[in-house]
Protein backbone atom coordinates (compact mmCIF):
# COMPACT_ATOMS: atom_id res chain seq x y z
CA UNK A 1 0.00 0.00 0.00
CA UNK A 2 1.50 3.28 -1.02
CA UNK A 3 0.88 5.55 1.88
CA UNK A 4 0.49 9.22 1.35
CA UNK A 5 3.50 10.28 3.40
CA UNK A 6 5.80 8.20 1.24
CA UNK A 7 4.12 9.47 -1.86
CA UNK A 8 4.39 13.11 -0.97
CA UNK A 9 7.96 12.90 0.26
CA UNK A 10 9.95 15.93 -0.73
CA UNK A 11 6.95 18.13 -1.38
CA UNK A 12 6.57 20.95 1.12
CA UNK A 13 3.53 20.18 3.25
CA UNK A 14 1.75 22.00 6.00
CA UNK A 15 0.08 19.11 7.70
CA UNK A 16 -0.22 15.41 7.16
CA UNK A 17 -2.24 13.01 9.25
CA UNK A 18 -3.38 9.43 9.08
CA UNK A 19 -7.10 9.28 9.74
CA UNK A 20 -9.49 6.64 10.89
CA UNK A 21 -11.27 5.31 7.82
CA UNK A 22 -14.08 3.72 9.76
CA UNK A 23 -14.96 6.99 11.39
CA UNK A 24 -14.80 9.56 8.63
CA UNK A 25 -14.20 7.62 5.46
CA UNK A 26 -10.76 9.01 4.76
CA UNK A 27 -7.38 7.41 5.34
CA UNK A 28 -5.09 10.37 4.97
CA UNK A 29 -5.50 14.03 5.11
CA UNK A 30 -2.98 16.67 4.18
CA UNK A 31 -2.89 20.43 4.12
CA UNK A 32 -0.73 21.76 1.36
CA UNK A 33 0.61 25.17 0.62
CA UNK A 34 -0.83 26.34 -2.68
CA UNK A 35 2.56 26.02 -4.34
CA UNK A 36 2.91 22.28 -3.89
CA UNK A 37 -0.59 21.26 -4.97
CA UNK A 38 0.16 20.58 -8.62
CA UNK A 39 3.25 18.59 -7.75
CA UNK A 40 1.28 16.50 -5.28
CA UNK A 41 -1.43 15.90 -7.88
CA UNK A 42 1.19 14.72 -10.35
CA UNK A 43 2.55 12.24 -7.83
CA UNK A 44 -0.96 10.97 -7.09
CA UNK A 45 -1.70 10.49 -10.78
CA UNK A 46 1.57 8.64 -11.23
CA UNK A 47 0.56 6.34 -8.37
CA UNK A 48 -2.77 5.61 -10.13
CA UNK A 49 -5.01 7.62 -7.86
CA UNK A 50 -8.08 9.25 -9.35
CA UNK A 51 -9.83 12.43 -8.43
CA UNK A 52 -13.20 11.98 -6.79
CA UNK A 53 -14.27 15.54 -6.29
CA UNK A 54 -13.23 19.05 -5.42
CA UNK A 55 -15.22 21.09 -2.98
CA UNK A 56 -14.60 24.23 -1.06
CA UNK A 57 -15.51 24.73 2.57
CA UNK A 58 -16.03 28.22 3.86
CA UNK A 59 -14.23 28.32 7.20
CA UNK A 60 -13.13 31.06 9.50
CA UNK A 61 -9.56 30.89 8.24
CA UNK A 62 -10.47 30.96 4.58
CA UNK A 63 -11.85 28.69 1.90
CA UNK A 64 -10.61 25.20 2.46
CA UNK A 65 -10.49 23.68 -1.01
CA UNK A 66 -10.79 19.95 -0.50
CA UNK A 67 -9.61 17.38 -3.03
CA UNK A 68 -10.72 13.81 -2.49
CA UNK A 69 -8.64 11.15 -4.16
CA UNK A 70 -9.35 7.44 -4.28
CA UNK A 71 -7.81 4.41 -5.86
CA UNK A 72 -9.29 1.84 -8.21
CA UNK A 73 -7.30 -1.08 -6.89
CA UNK A 74 -6.96 -0.44 -3.18
CA UNK A 75 -9.18 0.97 -0.48
CA UNK A 76 -8.60 4.31 1.11
CA UNK A 77 -9.21 7.91 0.46
CA UNK A 78 -6.72 10.76 0.53
CA UNK A 79 -7.94 14.23 1.28
CA UNK A 80 -5.76 17.09 0.17
CA UNK A 81 -6.65 20.52 1.43
CA UNK A 82 -5.50 23.95 0.41
CA UNK A 83 -6.49 27.02 2.34
CA UNK A 84 -7.31 30.07 0.24
CA UNK A 85 -7.72 33.35 2.09
CA UNK A 86 -11.10 35.06 1.92
CA UNK A 87 -9.88 38.29 0.38
CA UNK A 88 -7.91 36.71 -2.45
CA UNK A 89 -9.06 33.12 -2.94
CA UNK A 90 -6.55 31.86 -5.47
CA UNK A 91 -5.55 28.24 -5.82
CA UNK A 92 -3.51 26.71 -8.65
CA UNK A 93 -5.49 24.55 -11.01
CA UNK A 94 -4.72 20.85 -11.24
CA UNK A 95 -6.70 20.48 -14.45
CA UNK A 96 -3.51 19.98 -16.41
CA UNK A 97 -2.86 16.85 -14.35
CA UNK A 98 -6.35 15.52 -13.72
CA UNK A 99 -8.65 16.49 -16.59
CA UNK A 100 -11.60 15.64 -14.40
CA UNK A 101 -10.75 18.68 -12.33
CA UNK A 102 -11.81 20.97 -15.17
CA UNK A 103 -15.45 20.80 -14.23
CA UNK A 104 -15.00 20.38 -10.50
CA UNK A 105 -12.97 23.58 -10.41
CA UNK A 106 -15.53 25.46 -12.46
CA UNK A 107 -18.21 24.25 -10.07
CA UNK A 108 -16.19 25.37 -7.07
CA UNK A 109 -15.73 28.79 -8.65
CA UNK A 110 -19.49 28.98 -9.15
CA UNK A 111 -20.31 28.11 -5.56
CA UNK A 112 -17.55 29.77 -3.58
CA UNK A 113 -15.75 32.13 -5.91
CA UNK A 114 -12.42 30.40 -5.56
CA UNK A 115 -10.26 31.28 -8.54
CA UNK A 116 -8.19 28.45 -9.98
CA UNK A 117 -5.13 29.93 -11.58
CA UNK A 118 -4.14 28.25 -14.78
CA UNK A 119 -7.56 26.83 -15.54
CA UNK A 120 -8.03 27.08 -19.31
CA UNK A 121 -11.72 27.93 -19.29
CA UNK A 122 -12.95 29.11 -15.92
CA UNK A 123 -16.47 30.08 -16.97
CA UNK A 124 -19.64 29.34 -15.01
CA UNK A 125 -20.64 25.71 -15.18
CA UNK A 126 -23.80 25.21 -13.19
CA UNK A 127 -24.91 28.74 -12.47
CA UNK A 128 -26.15 31.28 -14.95
CA UNK A 129 -23.37 33.38 -16.50
CA UNK A 130 -25.37 36.46 -15.52
CA UNK A 131 -24.92 35.70 -11.85
CA UNK A 132 -21.23 35.01 -12.10
CA UNK A 133 -20.53 37.26 -9.14
CA UNK A 134 -23.02 35.57 -6.83
CA UNK A 135 -21.55 32.80 -4.75
CA UNK A 136 -24.34 30.90 -3.04
CA UNK A 137 -22.31 28.77 -0.69
CA UNK A 138 -20.24 31.55 0.81
CA UNK A 139 -21.19 31.99 4.42
CA UNK A 140 -21.64 35.28 6.12
CA UNK A 141 -18.59 36.14 8.24
CA UNK A 142 -20.41 35.70 11.53
CA UNK A 143 -21.39 32.10 10.96
CA UNK A 144 -17.98 30.94 9.79
CA UNK A 145 -16.50 28.29 12.03
CA UNK A 146 -12.86 27.50 12.62
CA UNK A 147 -11.80 24.43 10.71
CA UNK A 148 -10.29 22.68 13.70
CA UNK A 149 -13.77 22.51 15.14
CA UNK A 150 -14.97 19.91 12.69
CA UNK A 151 -12.18 18.69 10.44
CA UNK A 152 -10.69 15.44 11.57
CA UNK A 153 -7.23 15.95 13.03
CA UNK A 154 -6.19 12.35 12.77
CA UNK A 155 -2.86 10.97 13.87
CA UNK A 156 -0.46 13.75 12.97
CA UNK A 157 2.47 12.50 10.94
CA UNK A 158 3.92 15.84 10.08
CA UNK A 159 3.07 19.40 10.88
CA UNK A 160 4.68 22.55 9.67
CA UNK A 161 5.32 24.67 12.79
CA UNK A 162 3.88 27.71 11.08
CA UNK A 163 0.64 25.88 10.30
CA UNK A 164 -1.59 26.41 13.30
CA UNK A 165 -5.07 26.02 11.88
CA UNK A 166 -5.45 22.48 13.08
CA UNK A 167 -3.71 22.80 16.46
CA UNK A 168 -6.28 22.85 19.21
CA UNK A 169 -6.89 26.12 21.01
CA UNK A 170 -5.87 26.58 24.61
CA UNK A 171 -6.64 23.34 26.52
CA UNK A 172 -9.71 24.69 28.25
CA UNK A 173 -11.40 25.54 25.00
CA UNK A 174 -10.36 22.31 23.39
CA UNK A 175 -11.97 20.21 26.10
CA UNK A 176 -15.07 22.26 25.91
CA UNK A 177 -15.39 21.79 22.22
CA UNK A 178 -14.89 18.07 22.65
CA UNK A 179 -14.70 17.60 18.91
CA UNK A 180 -12.64 15.19 16.95
CA UNK A 181 -9.60 17.34 17.51
CA UNK A 182 -9.56 16.43 21.20
CA UNK A 183 -10.09 12.72 20.72
CA UNK A 184 -7.34 12.30 18.17
Amino acid sequence: MNSLDALLKGIPLDYLAACDYAKTGQTWQAFLPAGSLVKAAERLLAADWHLEDIAALDCFEGYVVTYHFAHFDQPGRATLRVVAPHDAPHVPSISAVFDGALWHERETRDFHGVIFDGHPNLIPLLLDPDMAECFPLRKDPKSRVKMREFLEAGEVLYQNPSFTFMTPDAPAVSQESGGTAATA
Binding site: E52, F72, F150, G178
Partner: protein
Protein backbone atom coordinates in the same frame (compact mmCIF):
# COMPACT_ATOMS: atom_id res chain seq x y z
CA UNK B 1 -28.44 32.58 -50.14
CA UNK B 2 -25.38 31.38 -48.32
CA UNK B 3 -26.72 32.10 -44.91
CA UNK B 4 -24.76 29.58 -42.92
CA UNK B 5 -21.44 31.17 -43.67
CA UNK B 6 -22.66 34.23 -41.86
CA UNK B 7 -21.76 33.51 -38.27
CA UNK B 8 -23.09 36.84 -37.09
CA UNK B 9 -26.59 35.59 -37.59
CA UNK B 10 -26.13 32.64 -35.27
CA UNK B 11 -24.16 34.43 -32.59
CA UNK B 12 -25.92 32.64 -29.75
CA UNK B 13 -25.55 33.10 -26.04
CA UNK B 14 -22.57 33.34 -23.72
CA UNK B 15 -21.57 29.71 -24.09
CA UNK B 16 -21.95 29.56 -27.85
CA UNK B 17 -19.92 32.72 -28.26
CA UNK B 18 -17.30 31.40 -25.92
CA UNK B 19 -17.18 28.16 -27.84
CA UNK B 20 -17.16 29.84 -31.25
CA UNK B 21 -14.06 31.86 -30.43
CA UNK B 22 -11.82 28.91 -31.12
CA UNK B 23 -13.86 27.46 -33.96
CA UNK B 24 -12.19 26.58 -37.20
CA UNK B 25 -12.90 28.39 -40.42
CA UNK B 26 -15.92 26.99 -42.22
CA UNK B 27 -17.09 24.62 -39.52
CA UNK B 28 -20.69 24.35 -38.40
CA UNK B 29 -21.52 25.05 -34.78
CA UNK B 30 -24.55 23.14 -33.64
CA UNK B 31 -26.31 23.24 -30.31
CA UNK B 32 -27.52 19.76 -29.43
CA UNK B 33 -30.01 20.51 -26.76
CA UNK B 34 -31.07 21.65 -24.21
CA UNK B 35 -34.22 20.39 -25.89
CA UNK B 36 -33.11 17.51 -27.99
CA UNK B 37 -34.38 13.93 -28.13
CA UNK B 38 -31.07 12.29 -27.33
CA UNK B 39 -29.78 14.45 -24.51
CA UNK B 40 -31.96 12.76 -21.89
CA UNK B 41 -33.47 15.82 -20.38
CA UNK B 42 -31.89 19.17 -20.58
CA UNK B 43 -28.27 18.61 -21.33
CA UNK B 44 -26.88 20.90 -23.97
CA UNK B 45 -23.87 19.95 -26.00
CA UNK B 46 -22.30 22.47 -28.31
CA UNK B 47 -20.62 20.65 -31.15
CA UNK B 48 -18.43 21.94 -33.89
CA UNK B 49 -19.06 19.92 -37.02
CA UNK B 50 -17.16 19.43 -40.17
CA UNK B 51 -19.85 17.73 -42.23
CA UNK B 52 -20.81 14.75 -40.13
CA UNK B 53 -17.61 14.78 -38.11
CA UNK B 54 -17.45 16.23 -34.63
CA UNK B 55 -14.38 18.40 -34.33
CA UNK B 56 -15.07 19.47 -30.80
CA UNK B 57 -17.86 19.04 -28.29
CA UNK B 58 -18.52 20.91 -25.12
CA UNK B 59 -21.35 20.01 -22.76
CA UNK B 60 -23.09 22.95 -21.15
CA UNK B 61 -24.69 22.13 -17.83
CA UNK B 62 -26.89 23.92 -15.39
CA UNK B 63 -30.30 23.75 -17.00
CA UNK B 64 -31.54 21.56 -14.18
CA UNK B 65 -29.41 22.97 -11.43
CA UNK B 66 -31.26 23.18 -8.11
CA UNK B 67 -28.44 23.89 -5.67
CA UNK B 68 -29.06 20.89 -3.47
CA UNK B 69 -25.88 21.67 -1.58
CA UNK B 70 -27.30 25.00 -0.49
CA UNK B 71 -30.59 23.39 0.47
CA UNK B 72 -28.61 21.06 2.71
CA UNK B 73 -27.38 24.10 4.60
CA UNK B 74 -30.84 25.42 5.36
CA UNK B 75 -32.43 22.15 6.41
CA UNK B 76 -31.65 19.74 9.17
CA UNK B 77 -30.06 16.47 8.21
CA UNK B 78 -33.26 14.46 8.48
CA UNK B 79 -35.18 17.03 6.53
CA UNK B 80 -32.73 16.81 3.68
CA UNK B 81 -33.55 13.19 2.83
CA UNK B 82 -36.43 14.02 0.43
CA UNK B 83 -33.96 16.04 -1.60
CA UNK B 84 -31.81 13.00 -2.14
CA UNK B 85 -34.62 11.21 -3.89
CA UNK B 86 -34.71 14.00 -6.38
CA UNK B 87 -31.04 14.25 -7.21
CA UNK B 88 -31.10 11.17 -9.40
CA UNK B 89 -34.49 9.91 -10.48
CA UNK B 90 -32.92 6.79 -11.95
CA UNK B 91 -31.32 5.40 -8.85
CA UNK B 92 -32.85 7.49 -6.08
CA UNK B 93 -32.30 4.97 -3.31
CA UNK B 94 -28.53 4.93 -3.79
CA UNK B 95 -28.49 8.66 -3.16
CA UNK B 96 -30.73 8.18 -0.15
CA UNK B 97 -28.22 5.68 1.09
CA UNK B 98 -25.16 7.80 0.41
CA UNK B 99 -26.45 10.73 2.42
CA UNK B 100 -27.96 8.71 5.23
CA UNK B 101 -24.80 6.63 5.40
CA UNK B 102 -22.60 9.69 5.65
CA UNK B 103 -24.61 11.13 8.51
CA UNK B 104 -24.69 7.76 10.25
CA UNK B 105 -20.94 7.46 9.89
CA UNK B 106 -20.45 10.92 11.31
CA UNK B 107 -22.78 10.35 14.25
CA UNK B 108 -21.69 6.77 14.80
CA UNK B 109 -25.18 5.33 14.48
CA UNK B 110 -25.44 1.56 14.11
CA UNK B 111 -28.15 0.46 11.73
CA UNK B 112 -30.15 -2.66 12.62
CA UNK B 113 -29.22 -5.65 10.52
CA UNK B 114 -32.66 -6.11 9.03
CA UNK B 115 -32.64 -2.52 7.90
CA UNK B 116 -29.35 -3.15 6.11
CA UNK B 117 -30.91 -6.03 4.22
CA UNK B 118 -33.99 -4.02 3.39
CA UNK B 119 -31.75 -1.26 2.12
CA UNK B 120 -29.76 -3.66 -0.01
CA UNK B 121 -32.84 -5.27 -1.53
CA UNK B 122 -34.55 -2.01 -2.37
CA UNK B 123 -31.36 -0.40 -3.61
CA UNK B 124 -30.60 -3.31 -5.92
CA UNK B 125 -34.16 -3.37 -7.24
CA UNK B 126 -33.76 0.29 -7.93
CA UNK B 127 -30.48 -0.40 -9.71
CA UNK B 128 -32.20 -2.85 -12.04
CA UNK B 129 -34.88 -0.26 -12.71
CA UNK B 130 -32.17 2.28 -13.44
CA UNK B 131 -30.38 -0.03 -15.87
CA UNK B 132 -33.63 -0.89 -17.60
CA UNK B 133 -34.39 2.78 -18.01
CA UNK B 134 -30.93 3.28 -19.48
CA UNK B 135 -31.31 0.29 -21.75
CA UNK B 136 -34.55 1.52 -23.23
CA UNK B 137 -33.42 5.09 -23.58
CA UNK B 138 -30.10 4.11 -25.09
CA UNK B 139 -31.75 2.04 -27.78
CA UNK B 140 -34.07 4.90 -28.45
CA UNK B 141 -30.95 6.96 -29.05
CA UNK B 142 -29.80 4.34 -31.49
CA UNK B 143 -33.12 4.43 -33.28
CA UNK B 144 -34.87 1.33 -31.96
CA UNK B 145 -38.27 2.30 -30.65
CA UNK B 146 -39.61 -0.91 -29.23
CA UNK B 147 -37.09 -1.93 -26.55
CA UNK B 148 -37.97 0.95 -24.25
CA UNK B 149 -41.53 -0.33 -24.08
CA UNK B 150 -40.38 -3.80 -23.10
CA UNK B 151 -37.97 -2.30 -20.59
CA UNK B 152 -40.70 -0.20 -19.07
CA UNK B 153 -42.96 -3.21 -18.89
CA UNK B 154 -40.36 -4.88 -16.68
CA UNK B 155 -39.48 -1.71 -14.85
CA UNK B 156 -43.12 -1.26 -13.97
CA UNK B 157 -42.98 -4.46 -11.96
CA UNK B 158 -40.06 -3.11 -9.93
CA UNK B 159 -41.85 0.17 -9.35
CA UNK B 160 -44.88 -1.77 -8.17
CA UNK B 161 -42.70 -3.62 -5.68
CA UNK B 162 -40.99 -0.48 -4.45
CA UNK B 163 -44.28 1.31 -4.18
CA UNK B 164 -45.35 -1.04 -1.41
CA UNK B 165 -42.80 0.06 1.21
CA UNK B 166 -41.98 3.52 -0.09
CA UNK B 167 -45.28 4.72 -1.45
CA UNK B 168 -43.51 6.42 -4.35
CA UNK B 169 -42.61 5.25 -7.78
CA UNK B 170 -39.72 7.47 -8.76
CA UNK B 171 -38.41 9.95 -6.22
CA UNK B 172 -38.07 7.76 -3.18
CA UNK B 173 -37.36 9.20 0.20
CA UNK B 174 -37.39 5.91 1.98
CA UNK B 175 -34.21 5.67 4.01
CA UNK B 176 -33.99 7.29 7.41
CA UNK B 177 -31.00 8.10 9.52
CA UNK B 178 -30.68 4.84 11.42
CA UNK B 179 -32.78 2.62 9.22
CA UNK B 180 -35.63 2.74 6.76
CA UNK B 181 -39.07 4.26 7.02
CA UNK B 182 -41.02 1.05 6.78
CA UNK B 183 -40.40 -2.66 6.81
CA UNK B 184 -41.02 -4.81 3.76
CA UNK B 185 -44.25 -6.68 4.21
CA UNK B 186 -45.26 -10.15 3.08
CA UNK B 187 -46.88 -8.83 -0.07
CA UNK B 188 -43.62 -7.18 -0.98
CA UNK B 189 -41.60 -10.34 -0.41
CA UNK B 190 -43.93 -12.45 -2.48
CA UNK B 191 -43.72 -9.92 -5.29
CA UNK B 192 -39.93 -9.89 -5.12
CA UNK B 193 -39.79 -13.68 -5.15
CA UNK B 194 -41.99 -13.74 -8.20
CA UNK B 195 -40.04 -10.99 -9.89
CA UNK B 196 -36.60 -12.63 -9.78
CA UNK B 197 -37.34 -15.65 -12.00
CA UNK B 198 -39.51 -13.52 -14.25
CA UNK B 199 -36.77 -10.99 -14.84
CA UNK B 200 -34.30 -13.79 -15.50
CA UNK B 201 -36.63 -15.18 -18.13
CA UNK B 202 -36.76 -11.81 -19.84
CA UNK B 203 -33.02 -11.37 -20.25
CA UNK B 204 -32.67 -13.88 -23.13
CA UNK B 205 -35.34 -11.96 -24.99
CA UNK B 206 -33.35 -8.75 -24.56
CA UNK B 207 -30.39 -10.57 -26.00
CA UNK B 208 -32.31 -11.87 -28.99
CA UNK B 209 -34.07 -8.65 -29.77
CA UNK B 210 -31.19 -6.26 -29.37
CA UNK B 211 -27.88 -7.39 -27.93
CA UNK B 212 -27.17 -9.83 -30.75
CA UNK B 213 -28.65 -7.67 -33.44
CA UNK B 214 -26.06 -6.98 -36.11
CA UNK B 215 -27.13 -3.38 -36.59
CA UNK B 216 -26.76 -2.64 -32.90
CA UNK B 217 -23.45 -4.43 -32.72
CA UNK B 218 -22.10 -2.40 -35.58
CA UNK B 219 -23.38 0.75 -33.94
CA UNK B 220 -21.70 0.25 -30.58
CA UNK B 221 -18.68 -2.00 -31.16
CA UNK B 222 -15.52 0.03 -31.18
CA UNK B 223 -17.40 3.25 -30.61
CA UNK B 224 -16.13 5.66 -27.99
CA UNK B 225 -13.07 3.83 -26.71
CA UNK B 226 -12.23 4.89 -23.17
CA UNK B 227 -8.84 3.81 -21.96
CA UNK B 228 -8.45 2.98 -18.25
CA UNK B 229 -5.96 5.83 -18.06
CA UNK B 230 -8.63 8.23 -19.29
CA UNK B 231 -11.02 6.96 -16.62
CA UNK B 232 -8.41 7.65 -14.02
CA UNK B 233 -7.71 11.15 -15.20
CA UNK B 234 -11.37 12.05 -15.30
CA UNK B 235 -12.43 10.06 -12.26
CA UNK B 236 -14.97 8.07 -14.22
CA UNK B 237 -16.50 5.25 -12.22
CA UNK B 238 -19.28 2.72 -12.41
CA UNK B 239 -20.12 0.88 -15.61
CA UNK B 240 -18.05 3.37 -17.59
CA UNK B 241 -14.90 2.37 -15.72
CA UNK B 242 -15.88 -1.30 -15.61
CA UNK B 243 -16.56 -1.24 -19.33
CA UNK B 244 -12.95 -0.18 -19.70
CA UNK B 245 -11.73 -3.18 -17.80
CA UNK B 246 -11.21 -1.51 -14.44
CA UNK B 247 -12.39 -3.86 -11.74
CA UNK B 248 -13.77 -1.20 -9.48
CA UNK B 249 -17.04 -1.26 -7.65
CA UNK B 250 -17.61 0.60 -4.39
CA UNK B 251 -19.56 -2.40 -3.10
CA UNK B 252 -16.30 -4.35 -3.16
CA UNK B 253 -13.65 -1.63 -2.97
CA UNK B 254 -15.09 0.13 0.06
CA UNK B 255 -17.48 -2.49 1.36
CA UNK B 256 -20.47 -1.14 3.19
CA UNK B 257 -23.61 -2.61 4.68
CA UNK B 258 -24.09 -6.34 4.04
CA UNK B 259 -22.32 -6.50 0.70
CA UNK B 260 -19.25 -8.28 2.11
CA UNK B 261 -21.51 -11.16 3.13
CA UNK B 262 -23.00 -11.53 -0.31
CA UNK B 263 -21.72 -13.56 -3.19
CA UNK B 264 -21.77 -11.61 -6.42
CA UNK B 265 -19.43 -10.74 -9.20
CA UNK B 266 -18.23 -7.43 -10.51
CA UNK B 267 -18.60 -7.65 -14.27
CA UNK B 268 -15.89 -5.99 -16.31
CA UNK B 269 -15.33 -5.86 -20.00
CA UNK B 270 -11.99 -5.61 -21.78
CA UNK B 271 -13.64 -3.99 -24.81
CA UNK B 272 -13.41 -0.40 -23.48
CA UNK B 273 -16.06 0.78 -25.94
CA UNK B 274 -19.80 1.39 -25.84
CA UNK B 275 -20.28 -2.35 -26.26
CA UNK B 276 -18.26 -2.97 -23.11
CA UNK B 277 -20.37 -0.56 -21.10
CA UNK B 278 -23.52 -2.12 -22.55
CA UNK B 279 -22.44 -5.62 -21.63
CA UNK B 280 -21.42 -4.61 -18.13
CA UNK B 281 -24.83 -3.13 -17.41
CA UNK B 282 -26.67 -6.12 -18.79
CA UNK B 283 -24.63 -8.46 -16.58
CA UNK B 284 -25.15 -6.16 -13.62
CA UNK B 285 -28.88 -6.74 -13.89
CA UNK B 286 -28.24 -10.44 -13.43
CA UNK B 287 -25.88 -9.83 -10.55
CA UNK B 288 -28.36 -7.57 -8.82
CA UNK B 289 -30.95 -10.30 -9.09
CA UNK B 290 -28.47 -12.63 -7.44
CA UNK B 291 -27.92 -10.16 -4.62
CA UNK B 292 -31.63 -9.74 -4.04
CA UNK B 293 -32.15 -13.48 -4.04
CA UNK B 294 -29.48 -13.96 -1.38
CA UNK B 295 -30.75 -11.07 0.72
CA UNK B 296 -34.29 -12.40 0.74
CA UNK B 297 -32.95 -15.73 1.95
CA UNK B 298 -30.64 -14.28 4.59
CA UNK B 299 -33.14 -11.73 5.85
CA UNK B 300 -32.96 -11.62 9.66
CA UNK B 301 -35.80 -10.63 11.95
CA UNK B 302 -35.68 -7.44 13.88
CA UNK B 303 -36.28 -3.73 13.73
CA UNK B 304 -35.80 -1.69 10.64
CA UNK B 305 -35.15 1.54 12.46
CA UNK B 306 -32.69 2.01 15.26
CA UNK B 307 -34.19 2.71 18.69
CA UNK B 308 -34.23 6.41 19.39
CA UNK B 309 -33.75 7.29 15.74
CA UNK B 310 -32.93 10.93 15.17
CA UNK B 311 -35.80 13.37 15.02
CA UNK B 312 -35.81 16.12 12.41
CA UNK B 313 -34.61 18.57 15.01
CA UNK B 314 -31.65 16.35 15.85
CA UNK B 315 -28.30 18.06 15.65
CA UNK B 316 -25.55 16.18 13.92
CA UNK B 317 -22.45 16.01 16.12
CA UNK B 318 -19.34 17.91 15.12
CA UNK B 319 -17.03 16.39 12.58
CA UNK B 320 -16.81 15.31 9.00
CA UNK B 321 -17.49 12.10 7.14
CA UNK B 322 -17.25 10.84 3.60
CA UNK B 323 -19.42 7.97 2.54
CA UNK B 324 -19.51 6.39 -0.88
CA UNK B 325 -21.96 3.91 -2.37
CA UNK B 326 -22.20 2.33 -5.77
CA UNK B 327 -25.00 3.85 -7.74
CA UNK B 328 -26.27 2.81 -11.11
CA UNK B 329 -23.88 5.25 -12.71
CA UNK B 330 -20.89 4.89 -10.46
CA UNK B 331 -19.49 6.08 -7.21
CA UNK B 332 -21.85 8.33 -5.33
CA UNK B 333 -20.02 10.16 -2.60
CA UNK B 334 -21.41 12.41 0.08
CA UNK B 335 -19.11 14.47 2.22
CA UNK B 336 -20.83 16.02 5.21
CA UNK B 337 -19.29 18.50 7.59
CA UNK B 338 -21.12 19.47 10.72
CA UNK B 339 -20.29 22.14 13.25
CA UNK B 340 -22.79 20.73 15.70
CA UNK B 341 -25.38 23.29 14.76
CA UNK B 342 -28.96 22.82 13.70
CA UNK B 343 -28.13 22.32 10.05
CA UNK B 344 -25.18 20.68 8.40
CA UNK B 345 -22.32 23.06 7.80
CA UNK B 346 -21.49 21.77 4.35
CA UNK B 347 -22.68 18.89 2.25
CA UNK B 348 -20.81 17.96 -0.88
CA UNK B 349 -22.52 15.63 -3.29
CA UNK B 350 -20.24 13.79 -5.65
CA UNK B 351 -22.29 12.79 -8.65
CA UNK B 352 -20.83 9.96 -10.75
CA UNK B 353 -22.47 11.27 -13.91
CA UNK B 354 -20.65 14.55 -13.50
CA UNK B 355 -17.24 12.92 -13.80
CA UNK B 356 -18.43 10.47 -16.44
CA UNK B 357 -19.81 13.21 -18.65
CA UNK B 358 -16.70 15.34 -18.32
CA UNK B 359 -14.75 12.87 -20.43
CA UNK B 360 -17.25 13.17 -23.26
CA UNK B 361 -15.48 16.19 -24.73
CA UNK B 362 -12.31 14.18 -25.17
CA UNK B 363 -13.86 10.91 -26.32
CA UNK B 364 -16.20 12.45 -28.87
CA UNK B 365 -13.47 14.36 -30.66
CA UNK B 366 -13.22 13.25 -34.27
CA UNK B 367 -16.20 10.91 -34.23
CA UNK B 368 -19.25 10.95 -36.43
CA UNK B 369 -22.27 12.78 -35.03
CA UNK B 370 -24.21 9.53 -34.73
CA UNK B 371 -21.31 8.01 -32.78
CA UNK B 372 -21.18 11.02 -30.51
CA UNK B 373 -24.84 10.38 -29.68
CA UNK B 374 -24.05 6.71 -29.12
CA UNK B 375 -21.22 7.65 -26.76
CA UNK B 376 -23.35 10.14 -24.91
CA UNK B 377 -26.00 7.50 -24.37
CA UNK B 378 -23.50 4.87 -23.29
CA UNK B 379 -22.38 7.10 -20.41
CA UNK B 380 -25.87 6.72 -18.90
CA UNK B 381 -26.65 10.30 -18.11
CA UNK B 382 -29.21 11.47 -15.62
CA UNK B 383 -29.10 15.22 -15.96
CA UNK B 384 -30.61 16.18 -12.58
CA UNK B 385 -27.83 14.23 -10.95
CA UNK B 386 -25.12 15.95 -12.97
CA UNK B 387 -26.54 19.41 -12.37
CA UNK B 388 -27.67 18.71 -8.84
Amino acid sequence: MTRYADMGQVAGDFYTENFAQTAQEGSLILNLGPQHPSTHGVLRVIVELDGEYVLRADPVLGYLHRMHEKMAEVKTAAQFIPNMGRVDYGHALAWNWAFVGAVEKLAGIEVPERAEYVRTITCELNRIASHLLWWGAYLLDLGAFTPIMYAFDDREKILDILQVPTGSRLTYSYFRIGGVAQDLNEDCFSRIKAFIPWMRSRLPMYKDLVSDNIILRKRIEGVGPIEPELCRRYGATGPVARGSGINFDVRRAEPYSVYPKLDFEIPTSPLMDARGRYDVRMIEIEQSLRIIEQCVEMMPEGDTLVKGAPKPSWKVPKGEAYFAVEGGRGKIGVHVVSDGGKNLYRTKLRAPGFSNLSLFAEVSRGTILADAVAILGSLDLIIPEIDR
